[in-house]
Symmetry: C2
Subunit: 288 residues, 2 copies
Amino acid sequence: MDVLESVLAVQERTSKWVREGKSIGFVPTMGYLHEGHEQLIKEAREENDKVILSIFVNPLQFGENEDLDKYPRDNEHDQHVAESLGVDMVFLPTENTMYPDPLSVKLTVARRADVLCGKSRPGHFEGVVTVLTKLFNICQPTKVYFGMKDAQQVAVVDALLTDFNFPIRLVKVPTVREDDGLAKSSRNVNLTPTEREEAPAIQEALQYGQTLVKNGERSAEKVKDATRKFLDSRTHGKIDYIELLSYPELEPVTNINQPVILAVAVFYEKARLIDNVVLKSDGTVEIG
Amino acid sequence: MDVLESVLAVQERTSKWVREGKSIGFVPTMGYLHEGHEQLIKEAREENDKVILSIFVNPLQFGENEDLDKYPRDNEHDQHVAESLGVDMVFLPTENTMYPDPLSVKLTVARRADVLCGKSRPGHFEGVVTVLTKLFNICQPTKVYFGMKDAQQVAVVDALLTDFNFPIRLVKVPTVREDDGLAKSSRNVNLTPTEREEAPAIQEALQYGQTLVKNGERSAEKVKDATRKFLDSRTHGKIDYIELLSYPELEPVTNINQPVILAVAVFYEKARLIDNVVLKSDGTVEIG
């Protein structure tokens, strides 16, 4: 496994792979890999000749009040994980490698960005699409892998790829869960024992909402309200939002007659957890 | 020579060429080809295994008062020219092919855009970088060809490629000129006989300015003033601007100690002509 820091070194390698007809699976991350990332790498490994993992804590996607410096890093662990899962190349650029000069051309996100978690993180998704556009041009992937845990990020990446005709297929990887259904997250360790016991109610509430849709409920408002009541009665966590939006457009929905996302964020004492389910209009799961 | 209208058909073809290790030269145009375009195609033909010409009158780069509908079109002539110069593929998309839906992700140009001709065309270069980003991802070129006649466009494309790490080399093709030095332009036919006789003074003025730099003048202001006086005395055309800026950054310059562009725009009765020269700090030509 090669660990490369230079854009040109990576581009030379990926151009060679492309010319040799190799498919390239790409997993962009900010490092500190957990089982969610591992699942992305495993799928990329199964489906491609070559697998690239990038590790870059992208300053552009952090807001002013978000603590970039405190973002956890563990390159040694990450490289060990990558090696053990058969990654061919780790791209580990410095900030100066990625942003040597102020950008003259900028990307903004006009849709899909100002709802759900994006509401409280202005500029976040502009940072995301900027670094991804660069990484896509550097790594030249055939397929790129993202986890559905962050369904809004997937929707924004979908827009980026579609709007600019990137010749890249987006692979949406289902959320990895604990045995009791709680979505895996590095934040779960910050839950108190009681909170940890209650937290599976988040997925149960989403499944409850899903059942309503399956049984014919078409009112987005009613599904949201019922999901909220279900969750409120089962956890002491404070609900940040329960939203039901079209997917991947993330537009408001009155009647459910298209694919939708039912998404939840809950504040616990020292962790904010998110989860979601993407449904077809008949209530069956669209994306895991 | 193939003429294709569909994004997917082109992408399938270019992906195949890339996998076969073919180099691809790309000449993006708005059609109505003249000798300037022909020069771009010829250079692309010499330097690449495959040559793609795109013809697309991009609505996004026209301002509200700029008459998109009146932009001249002659696809039959253009395809004949392309065929005769050995182009392998013409990409001729419709507006609906390029912009089937409103864009969710947008590009803006924060530098290099609001000077020279861009000053009076707000939004123009955003349209340019947007369509080019799409075309680059569709045509997957090794090299892309632009004429130095529109040096500002070259500077903006240079920023686009650099900022987003496109694995594409920008080839800057010197301006094609008439025997008397006048830059070739489809607008030259709109000059009166007297104007046509005077118009070579535009390049002569640029050469005069260049000579001053060569002879040691370092003051941007003095070079601009002298160039203006030279030109004013030799043509009845109204000077729109004479600018001396760093190149390709297009930032104001006081003392000439880096590559600079000396650029001129002149209004005649029914035509506005532009021309420029890019100089090293010693006054020798940096780009033709």
